[in-house]
C-alpha cells in the first residue's frame, strides 16, 4: 500500500465538475431499435388464422378467437390470434413461425392502461396506436425458416420416356422423400376444413412422420375409401389452401396420401382396418353406378352391416375414374386395389346391368330397402357450331372410354381438341400418345375459350401436355369446322376476349377481326359433360324436385323427394372424385338413419 493508494481515490472528485450522466444523456422518450421486439401487430387481411403462432408460443399467451367481420371460408379459419400480455414474453417466435408473414412486432414499448383486461387484445382488430409503426421485429431474411418452404421434388418420367406409353408417369415418394415432405406440415388443419370429405390430413401426415403407415391407412379410410385413386388424381383443394403455399410451395398432400396407400399391401387391408368380421343387419341397399360416390356409399354401408349391390352399366367398375382418366395418371391396377377391398367387405357388383334398361328403378325400389344413385356425367356436350354433326367430330369422354375398353380409337395425323379443362388435357395427351405410337410424331392442337391464365385445367397438366409435343393455344372461340369433300379440313376460331357478362353469366365475346385456322382432320370436343337421367321414369320424376338448372334437389343427406332414393356424386355436386366420396359417406349415414330411425343420435362411422 502506498501514498498513491490513499490519494488516487480522490480523483473521483474530478467528476464533481462534470455534468452527471442523467443530464449528459437524459432519459428522453425514444423509439426502440429497428429490430426491437415490442408490441404485436397483425395484418388481418393476410392472416389466415392457421394457429401456428398459438402452437409455438411457449407461454400459451396466444389464443385464436373468432373475429367479427371475418368469415370462415376455404383457406381461412376465420380466427385471429389474441395475445395476452400477462403471459407474453416477447420472444417473437410467433413472428418467426408465422406462415403468411402477417404477424410482426413493432418497436413501441410503452403502454399504460388502467383496465387489466385491455392487455389481452387481438392485434390488427383492436386498434392500437402502434398499428402504423413500420419498424420492429420481423422475420429475418431468407435462410432463417422454421420449416422448409420448398417441396420435395416428385420424380416424373421424362417427356421422352412417357410420350408414347400409358405407363404411370408420377413415380411416387420413397420413404425418405415422404418423411421429409411430411416434416414440412405445420398441422394447422386448414386443409381438413377445405377438403370436401374433411380428411384427417395433419393426422395421416403425422403417421408418416412416425413411420406408422398402418395408422395412416386407418385415418385415410375414416373418410375416404379410395385412397389409391385420390392419392393420384384428387383435385387437391387441400393443397390449394395449404398454409405453406402463402410464402412457399404447398405441401404435396396428394402424393403423401398415395405414399401411405402404396406402402400398405392390399392383402393386409382387412386386418389393418379391422374389417374382418362385420355383423350383418339384414337390410339391403341397391347402388346405381360404381363411381366414387357409389363405391363410397357401398363401403360405409357395408361397414355398418348392410348388404349392398352395385349396378354397373359397363363391364368394369370405377365409373369416370376408370373410363375418364387416362391410365398414365391412374393405373387400372390401383383402381382395382381400392375396389377389390370394398368388394371384400361383401359388396356385390353386377356388371353390364343398366338400370332403366335391364332393370327398372321401380323394381330396385321394391326389391331393396333403399337405393343410391350416383350415375355421374357421362354424356359429352357439344359446341353445336357448324360442322359438329360430321362423323369425324367426337366427344372426348367417348374416346377416353374406348381407350380404356381397348376398342379401336379413331385417329388421324392432325387433330384439333376444343376445351381447356383437365378432360381436354387428358384426351389431348392420350391421343398424342396414340399418334406417337402410330405415326411416330404428335400432331395435335388444343384450344379453349379461356386464356392461358384462366384455363380451368391444372397448371402442371398444361405444362406436361406441352412437354409431350401437343400444342396448347388457348383464348380462341370456335367458329365453324371447315369441311371439304366430306373431309374435315380444320377449325376456324376467333379471338375470345371476354367470357362472362357484367351479371356474371356465361356470354363469350369474340373479336371477329382476329381469326385463326387450326388445321386437322378430326375434331374432339371436350367442353363439359351432362347427365343421363333416362332411368328416372316420368312417375318418379313427378315426385322429385328439380331446380332451374336441371339438378335434382336433395337434403343434406342426399335424400331426394322419394324417401328411399338417395342421389349423389357428380350429378349433385362436383364434378370431382373427392366430392363424390364425401357425398357417398354422407348418403350412407343418411340411408342408415332413414332405415333405422331410432339410431339417429348414435355416432356413425
Amino acid at each position: 500500500m502506498s501514498l498513491k493508494d490513499i490519494f488516487s481515490p480522490f480523483t473521483a472528485w474530478g467528476k464533481a465538475f462534470e455534468k452527471p450522466v442523467t443530464i449528459k444523456d437524459p432519459i428522453a422518450e425514444r423509439p426502440g431499435a429497428d429490430r426491437y421486439r415490442g408490441f404485436h401487430k397483425n395484418d388481418i387481411s393476410t392472416c389466415i388464422g392457421c394457429g401456428t403462432c398459438e402452437t409455438i408460443c411457449e407461454n400459451e399467451a396466444i389464443d385464436l378467437v373468432p373475429v367479427e367481420g371475418i368469415e370462415t371460408k376455404d383457406g381461412d379459419s376465420g380466427l385471429r390470434p389474441r395475445v395476452d400480455y400477462g403471459r407474453c414474453c416477447w420472444c417473437a417466435l410467433c413472428v418467426d413461425v408465422c406462415t403468411t408473414g402477417s404477424l410482426s412486432l413493432t418497436n413501441t414499448y410503452t403502454w399504460v392502461e388502467e383496465d387489466p383486461e385491455a392487455y389481452r387484445f387481438t392485434p390488427g382488430v383492436d386498434e392500437k396506436p402502434w398499428d402504423k409503426e413500420e419498424k420492429g421485429w420481423k422475420k429475418p431474411e431468407p435462410g432463417y425458416e422454421f420449416y422448409n418452404l420448398n417441396r420435395v421434388t416428385m420424380e416424373h418420367l421424362e417427356p421422352e420416356e412417357r410420350d408414347d406409353t400409358f405407363i404411370e408417369m408420377v413415380k411416387g415418394f420413397s420413404k425418405e422423400q415422404a418423411e421429409k415432405e411430411a416434416d414440412r406440415c405445420v398441422e394447422c388443419g386448414i386443409c381438413t376444413a377445405t377438403c370436401p370429405a374433411h380428411m384427417g390430413i395433419p393426422e395421416y401426415i403425422k403417421a408418416i412422420r412416425n413411420d406408422d403407415l398402418e395408422e395412416g391407412l386407418r385415418i385415410l379410410y375414416d373418410t375416404n375409401p379410395l385412397p389409391e385413386i385420390c392419392g393420384r388424381i384428387c383435385t387437391h383443394k387441400c393443397e390449394t389452401v395449404c398454409t405453406l403455399g402463402h410464402r412457399g410451395e404447398a405441401l404435396s398432400i396428394r402424393w403423401l396420401k398415395r405414399y401411405i396407400a402404396d406402402q400398405n399391401p392390399s392383402e393386409k387391408y382387412k386386418k389393418i382396418l379391422n374389417s374382418e368380421f362385420i355383423e350383418k343387419n339384414g337390410k339391403k341397399v341397391a347402388i346405381i353406378g360404381s363411381g366414387p360416390s357409389g363405391l363410397s356409399t357401398a363401403h360405409y354401408l357395408a361397414l355398418m352391416g348392410y348388404e349392398c349391390t352395385i349396378f354397373e352399366k359397363l363391364s368394369k367398375a370405377g365409373g369416370m375414374m376408370r373410363f375418364g382418366i387416362p391410365e398414365y395418371r391412374l393405373p387400372y391396377d390401383q383402381i382395382d386395389k381400392d375396389i377389390s377391398y370394398i368388394e371384400s367387405l361383401g359388396v356385390k357388383i353386377k356388371y353390364n346391368t343398366q338400370v332403366g334398361v335391364d332393370i327398372t328403378l321401380d323394381e330396385l325400389g321394391k326389391k331393396y330397402d333403399a337405393v343410391f344413385a350416383g350415375t355421374g356425367l357421362h354424356m359429352g356436350r357439344s359446341t353445336r357450331i357448324e360442322g359438329t354433326d360430321h362423323k369425324n367430330v367426337y366427344q372426348a369422354i367417348d374416346l377416353l372410354r374406348k381407350i380404356t375398353l381397348g376398342e379401336e380409337v379413331p385417329l388421324t395425323e392432325h387433330i384439333v381438341v376444343i376445351g381447356g379443362g383437365n378432360v381436354a388435357m387428358d384426351i389431348t395427351r392420350s391421343l398424342a400418345r396414340l399418334q406417337k405410337q402410330k405415326y411416330g410424331k404428335v400432331g395435335i392442337i388444343t384450344t379453349s375459350l379461356e386464356t392461358e391464365d384462366k384455363m380451368p385445367a391444372d397448371r402442371e397438366e398444361v405444362i406436361e401436355t406441352r412437354e409431350e409435343g401437343a400444342v396448347v393455344n388457348p383464348g380462341w372461340a370456335p367458329q365453324y369446322i371447315e369441311i371439304e369433300n366430306d373431309k374435315i379440313k380444320g377449325l376456324h376460331v376467333a379471338q375470345c376476349y371476354s367470357l362472362f357478362d357484367e351479371e356474371g353469366k356465361f356470354n363469350p365475346q369474340c373479336n371477329l377481326d382476329n381469326l385463326q385456322f387450326f388445321e386437322g382432320n378430326m375434331v374432339v370436343e371436350s367442353i363439359g359433360q351432362g347427365m343421363d337421367l333416362s332411368y328416372l321414369t316420368e312417375d318418379l320424376k313427378h315426385d322429385l324436385e328439380i331446380d332451374r338448372r336441371g339438378r335434382i334437389k336433395v337434403n343434406e343427406y342426399f335424400q331426394s323427394g322419394i324417401p328411399w332414393l338417395f342421389i349423389g356424386g357428380d350429378i349433385i355436386q362436383g364434378p370431382d372424385v373427392i366430392h363424390g366420396i364425401a357425398n357417398g359417406h354422407k348418403a350412407a349415414r343418411g340411408i342408415d338413419e332413414f332405415l333405422f330411425e331410432e339410431k339417429k343420435d348414435t355416432p356413425k362411422p
Binding site: 480523483t11 429497428d34 409455438i56 411457449e58 414474453c89 429475418p140 422454421f146 398441422e187
Partner: protein
Amino acid sequence: MSNTIFDWKKDRSMFPEPDKDGKPVVELDSQKYIKVWQGPNHPGVTGNMALELTISGDEVMEAKTHVGYLHRGFEKLFERRRYMQCFPTSIRMCVPEPDINEYNLSRGTELLSGIEVPEMAGWLRMIALEMARLQVLLRTVPGQGGTIGLGLPAQWGLYYRELILDRFEELTGGRIYHMYILPGGVRGLLPDGFKKRLEDNLVKIEAFMKEVDRVVYSNAVFKKRTKGIGVVPPEWIDQYGATGPVARAAGYKRDVRKDYPYLYYDRLDFDYNVEHESDVFARFHVRRKDVDTTIDLLRQIMAKMPEKGELRAETPNVLHWKIPRGETLVRCESSRGEYLFYMVADGSIYPRRINLRGPSYTHGVVLLEKLLVNANISDVSSIMVSLATCPPEIER
C-alpha cells in the same frame, strides 16, 4: 502506515468451545450469539437468497444459505416444451447473463440432432456471449467496491453497461432478454454500423476502467478491506468444484474457452488471467483483467468474423422437431465460471431432461457457508459478491 490500528482481530471465535472435530459449538441460549438474517431482500445479497448468520459481536460464527425464493422450476418446464420453445424460457435461469443459457441449450440441441451451425452464426454467437460477459463485468467489477461502501463507481458502471445493452437492443431486439441464439443459429446479422458503435463503446469503457482503477483498485480502503479476506484455500478448488474467477484467483489455469474451446475461441489470442492470493482482492483483480481480455476479444472477433454468411442451419420443422435418444453435455465459460448443461433426449419432441450445473451452486452455497465462518459481518456481502453468486441459477 501501521496496520495495527485498523486491524481487526478474530477474537470472538475463541469463545465457543470447539467439539472433538474442532467445530465450534454455538449455544444460542448462552446469549453470546444472535441470529441475523441477511436477505432475501438485502442490498448486500445478490438476488433473492438469504444468509442465516449466527454472530457473536460482529463476527460470523456460522452461516447458512437459504434458497427457494426464486424457484420457478425451469428444468421441469423444459420437459413440457418443444426444443425450439426452450430457449426463451432458459434465459431466465440467469438474468444478468442470459446468453450463456441460450447458447448451451442451442448447442446441446444441435449436438443431439447432429446439426452444424453456419460459420457466420458461430461468430455472431461469440459476439453476443462476449458482450454479455462484458456487461456483467461492468456491474460486478465496480460493484465489488459497492459492497464495502465505495458505491460511486458501481453507479457509474451501470451507465456503461447500458451502452452495451444499447448494442444488444439493436442486435437482438431486446435489452435484457436477448433471445438471440436459438437452435440452428442466431436470429439476426449485425446491423449497419454496429461494429463502429460497439468500438466507440469499448473505447469509453476502457477509459472508465482506468477510473475504476484509480478509485477502487488502487484505493487504500479497498485494499485494506479485501486483501486477506475470504481466502479460498487452493485445495478447495478441486474439492468443491469451484471454477471461473474463483479458481483462477487461486492460481488455477481454468477457462472453458481455452481448455475445451467451443465456437471459434481457438482462433482467438488470449490468455488465462491468474492470481494466487485467492482472496476477495485477487478475485476482483482477475475480473478486472477479464474486462480487458473481453474488450480485446470483442475487437478480435469483429476483425476476424466474416462479412456475410448464413444465419441459421436448416433444421427439421421446429413444430415437431424430434430428436433421437441420446444425451450430451455442453459447457461454456460464463463470467462466473464453467456453465454446464446436461441434456437427455428420448426421441420425442420434448427434451427428457435438461439439467444445469452452474458455478453459483458451489460458489454461493458451499464455499460461501465455509468462507463466512469467522468473517466480520461487514465483509459478508463483499465475500458473497466476490464469489459471484446468481440465485436463479442455483434454483432453476
